[in-house]
């Protein structure tokens, strides 16, 4: 696919403290209604006292290269945008929830006004040359938006010397959140 941009997110689990600033910033920026969220915190603790490990993540839509939500959307509302993100056209969404069932990452919810909603990487901000609200506010700088088609070297620089993983790779969706460990 020839695209000018191909946005992805690199998330550093070493520094994320799970404070939820990203969640609140997203909710205010995107007017996410009470009781719902586009991004969320996951915390995984393993082991037994006192031998414990913890991993904290700020999670959201993976903006997959092979997105099942797009495949299964009967109206074409869920679609690939030209910048490598997956977006929802609210005018075409009927709220049928096929995408909710198809998404392996549980990234979507039905907005009380009847359409499906999820993380857009703050596309409206990207268009203005701004970073997504979550990235901007994150006190630990754990979240980094990268353009995989850019020559700026940012992605390479961020993953240098780090272990990089993706979630649920066998699902075959080619997710674009990259976790640094």
């Amino acid at each position: 696919m020839s695209r000018k941009r191909n946005y992805a997110m690199v998330i550093d689990t070493h520094v994320c403290v799970g404070c939820s600033a990203c969640v609140y910033a997203c909710k205010a920026e995107n007017e996410v209604p009470e009781g719902f969220c586009r991004d969320w915190i996951e915390q995984k603790v393993e082991g037994h006292f006192p031998k414990l490990t913890m991993e904290i993540r700020s999670n959201r839509c993976q903006h997959c290269e092979e997105a099942p939500c797009v495949t299964y959307c009967p109206t074409g509302s869920s679609h690939y945008a030209g910048d490598g993100t997956v977006q929802i056209d609210r005018n075409w969404c009927t709220g049928c929830k096929a995408c909710l069932a198809a998404c392996p990452y549980d990234a979507r919810y039905v907005h009380p006004e009847g359409f499906v909603d999820k993380c857009s990487f703050c596309q409206h901000r990207l268009k203005q040359g701004l970073q997504p609200a979550c990235v901007t506010t994150c006190p630990t700088s754990a979240l980094k938006l990268v353009d995989l088609n850019s020559n700026d070297g940012l992605y390479r620089q961020l993953i240098e010397g780090r272990t990089v993983t993706q979630d649920k790779v066998p699902a075959g969706t080619q997710p674009k959140l990259f976790w640094l460990h």
């Binding site: 550093d12 070493h14 520094v15 403290v17 799970g18 404070c19 939820s20 600033a21 969640v23 609140y24 910033a25 909710k27 205010a28 920026e29 995107n30 007017e31 209604p33 009470e34 009781g35 719902f36 969220c37 969320w40 915190i41 996951e42 915390q43 995984k44 603790v45 393993e46 082991g47 037994h48 006292f49 006192p50 414990l52 490990t53 913890m54 991993e55 904290i56 999670n59 056209d89 609210r90 005018n91 549980d106 907005h111 006004e113 359409f115 409206h124 609200a133 901007t136 506010t137 994150c138 006190p139 630990t140 700088s141 754990a142």
Partner: protein, 737 residues
């Protein structure tokens, strides 16, 4: 296994929705529509946050005269464009439907006490009249002002001019006080707030109970993250596997109350193995031999026996501290009133930092300064009596004298004691600004008893709280998003001056603090005290800094670059201590009859079947002040009690069940708390986030959610050096009925 996943998040949210249905709806009009785009703000106003007391710069986004979003101001050195969760949810305070909306006066109708709505004129007249009577009869010293927060400055000016000089803040003896005094005794100056610590450049960081990342002071967490990114090794000493512990190379789950023994053990090893900065200590410190004599028997084996930390780990950390030397930092913490030995524990931390030579070195303790000193005349003007012959000014025959020799501020708990005893002189009236003393002081029965002794109580606040329920007059202040305050011209590594300015007009009949103080000054017979309106007053100060109010309103903050954070090679250092050197053994403590070198005293042990109660912070809440914030409460509507999985099972506790707590004095919690069985805490302690369990029904969202830790803190272990109230020597067990 503790796991917060998306399902759980939604579950919490749906519990929240149920209560919303009961009429606690979120009042912001959401304009989400099928339109794809997001509307632009009408304006963005730069101001200073007050959801906690770190005071970050924020940009407030306004559309249709509603603040719908808050973001970190990019030039402000405390926010750097970023904002913590609490700051992000500040609009939840502004639009809290339970805000105090108009002045209230307590009255008795048919033998029943109630509040009635009053006008500002009536409320301020009543305050002036009562203060006039009380100060005439008992002297101006019989009125005490308590405060927390930045807006208190105008009231301090007001009361100083009137001859009232007793100002007390729980941020001293209930929080940071021991740290200040310990560093003053050791280095001759306090560590400051924000702390003068170069965390971002530390290569080896030791945290004791300080849970950075859960305690979300924006810049401190930014620095912590930056240090981790650069490969800093973190050591966390905490009975609980905190978020910071999850980032640590070593987590030392210490037996609660034994931190000072561990610190002494580390000092012992550094001295015995000569791993300290010998040259720095020779040139800059006194008392080395006395220090050694004081810690001679604090061997690793003895330290293990007390703390439960394995000998190898104790030795390893001490050697690492020596190896990293001046680039290592033992963080002194912030809320440090734990066990009653707090000043001495903080002294031991100061001594360790001195020994590794990190004073004014990258990664260690750094020098901070003000943007530019506001000219002395202005400051003096603020705190001089109104007129030389002003009647009540003559009337103060006592000044407050603490029982504790090193109390440099007024310990709030001493005012409580004095209010009850009436000795050495009576305290008859409290003026309480922005602090919920019922929750913040501990030993609630004493606070309640003192309140019964008072003739007159005034509370100024944004929201109702337990303390406002005991007031005779309540004055509603508007939120930080609706007012000017004094300039924030604080001491920091990047010197700056920042503005707090109104983003929107005050809601209801609430007023800014400066306006309330001016109204009171007129009624109290000092009509010219605030003769400049607030904008003129701020502009005059800014003119002295070669700026103007217009400029600062636009840019939000002025700053200059960091300089002289670190010492130069060979720079001669001067310390404001009696010896002029760093005092490893404190001459002032020795003279006052205390241990010159910190000695360890074991804290009380758990009674059988009881758990030591520890408390802390959550990233999305500031003490009890945000519990009613609907925006922030969505992710954390209540606190939980962390109980060790195995210990909990022994007590037949079920994960997720609600129980009452009963403490060692038989005090039962007024509300129930949800049990969280977890591997993340020692079996002998339990933990909760402070600030929940509100009993004021006017806080409709927070009302009776979770348990208030202060309810259970009836045993205060007072620090004999400076009067801080150690709160962690309380023990709880559980009951289902």
């Amino acid at each position: 296994m503790a796991q917060v996943n998306r399902r759980k998040f939604l579950k919490i949210s749906s519990a929240f929705l149920a209560s919303s249905a009961a009429g606690l709806g979120w009042p912001l009009i959401t304009k989400t529509s099928k339109a794809q785009g997001i509307a632009e703000p009408d304006r963005i106003v730069s101001t200073t946050c007050e959801i906690c007391f770190w005071r970050c710069g924020v940009d407030a986004y306004v559309r249709d005269e509603k603040v719908y979003k808050l973001a970190g101001h990019k030039d402000h050195p405390l926010s750097n464009g970023k904002l913590c969760p609490r700051g992000n949810g500040g609009q939840g305070l502004l639009y809290d439907p339970n805000r105090l909306k108009h002045p209230l006066i307590r009255e008795t109708v048919n033998g029943k006490e109630q509040f009635r709505k009053a006008s500002w004129d009536e409320a301020t007249s009543l305050i002036a009249e009562r203060f006039g009577k009380i100060t005439k009869q008992y002297g101006t010293e019989s009125v005490v002002m308590f405060s927390h927060g930045f807006g208190a400055s105008f009231f301090k000016t007001l009361f100083s001019a009137y001859g009232i000089h007793t100002f007390s803040a729980p941020s001293y003896a209930q929080c940071r006080g021991p740290r200040s005094e310990a560093f003053k005794l050791t280095f001759g100056h306090a560590i400051g707030s924000p702390e003068g610590l170069d965390i971002a450049n530390s290569r080896y960081l030791v945290l004791l109970g300080s849970h950075l990342g859960e305690n979300m002071h924006n810049t401190a967490v930014q620095d912590f993250s930056s240090a981790i990114s650069k490969g800093c090794e973190v050591v966390v000493v905490d009975p609980r596997f905190s978020v910071a512990a999850g980032k640590a190379k070593h987590w030392l789950p210490i037996k609660p109350g034994t931190d000072l023994a561990l610190l002494r053990g580390w000092i012992h090893i550094l001295l015995k193995e000569k791993r300290y900065d010998i040259e720095f200590i020779e040139q800059n410190a006194v008392g080395l031999e006395e220090l050694w004599q004081g810690v001679k028997y604090a061997t690793p084996e003895q330290t293990y026996a007390i703390t439960g930390i394995p000998v190898e780990q104790i030795v390893q950390v001490a050697r690492d501290l020596g190896r990293y030397g001046s680039s290592a930092l033992v963080h002194p913490g912030r809320h440090v009133t734990w066990y009653g030995d707090d000043t001495q524990r903080e002294r031991a931390i100061a001594i360790l930092n001195a020994l590794i030579g990190n004073y004014r070195m990258p990664g260690g303790i750094i020098r901070q300064e003000k943007f530019t000193p506001i000219k002395a005349t202005l400051n003096q003007e603020k705190f001089k009596p109104y007129k030389a012959d002003f009647p009540v000014t003559q009337n103060a025959s006592h000044t407050f004298q603490s029982r504790y020799p090193f109390a440099s501020q007024v310990p709030a708990n001493e005012i409580v004691d004095q209010t009850i005893s009436g000795s050495p002189y009576p305290v008859k009236s409290w003026f309480v600004y922005g602090t919920n003393l019922i929750q913040s002081l501990g030993n609630q029965p004493a606070t309640l008893k003192a309140l019964q002794q008072l003739d007159f109580v005034v509370a100024v606040d944004v929201l109702p709280a337990e303390i406002t329920g005991y007031a005779d007059v309540i004055l509603p202040e508007c939120t930080y998003l609706e007012r000017y305050d004094d300039l924030d011209n604080r001491t920091y590594r990047t010197p700056y001056v920042a503005i707090r300015q109104p983003v929107v007009e005050p809601l209801y009949e609430s007023k800014p603090g400066h306006e309330i103080a001016r109204l009171l000054s007129e009624k109290m017979g000092m009509p010219d005290l605030f003769k400049d309106d607030i904008e003129t007053y701020l502009n005059k100060q800014l003119k002295q800094m070669d700026s103007s109010l217009d400029e600062l309103k636009k840019v939000g903050v002025l700053k200059v670059s960091e300089k002289n954070l670190y010492r130069q090679p060979g720079e001669a250092l001067q310390f404001k201590t009696p010896s002029g050197k760093i005092e490893l053994a404190s001459s002032r403590l020795r003279e006052a009859g205390f241990d010159a070198v910190p000695q360890y005293q074991p804290p009380p042990e758990n009674p059988p079947g009881y758990f030591r109660l520890l408390y802390g912070r959550a990233p999305m809440h500031t003490f009890g002040r945000t519990a009613n914030n609907r925006v922030l409460g969505e992710l954390m509507p209540e606190n939980e009690l962390w109980v060790n999985q195995v210990a909990g099972r022994d007590m037949k506790l079920k994960h997720g069940e609600y129980v009452y707590l009963v403490n060692q004095d038989g005090v039962k919690s007024t509300t129930k708390i949800k049990i969280r069985l977890t591997e993340r805490i020692r079996p002998d302690a339990v933990y909760m986030v402070h600030g929940f369990g509100h009993t004021d029904a006017r806080l409709e969202f927070a009302y009776q959610r979770g348990v208030n830790s202060s309810d259970m803190i009836t045993q205060l272990s007072t620090d004999p050096i400076m009067g801080a109230t150690g709160m962690n020597n309380n023990f709880v067990t559980f009951t289902r009925s």
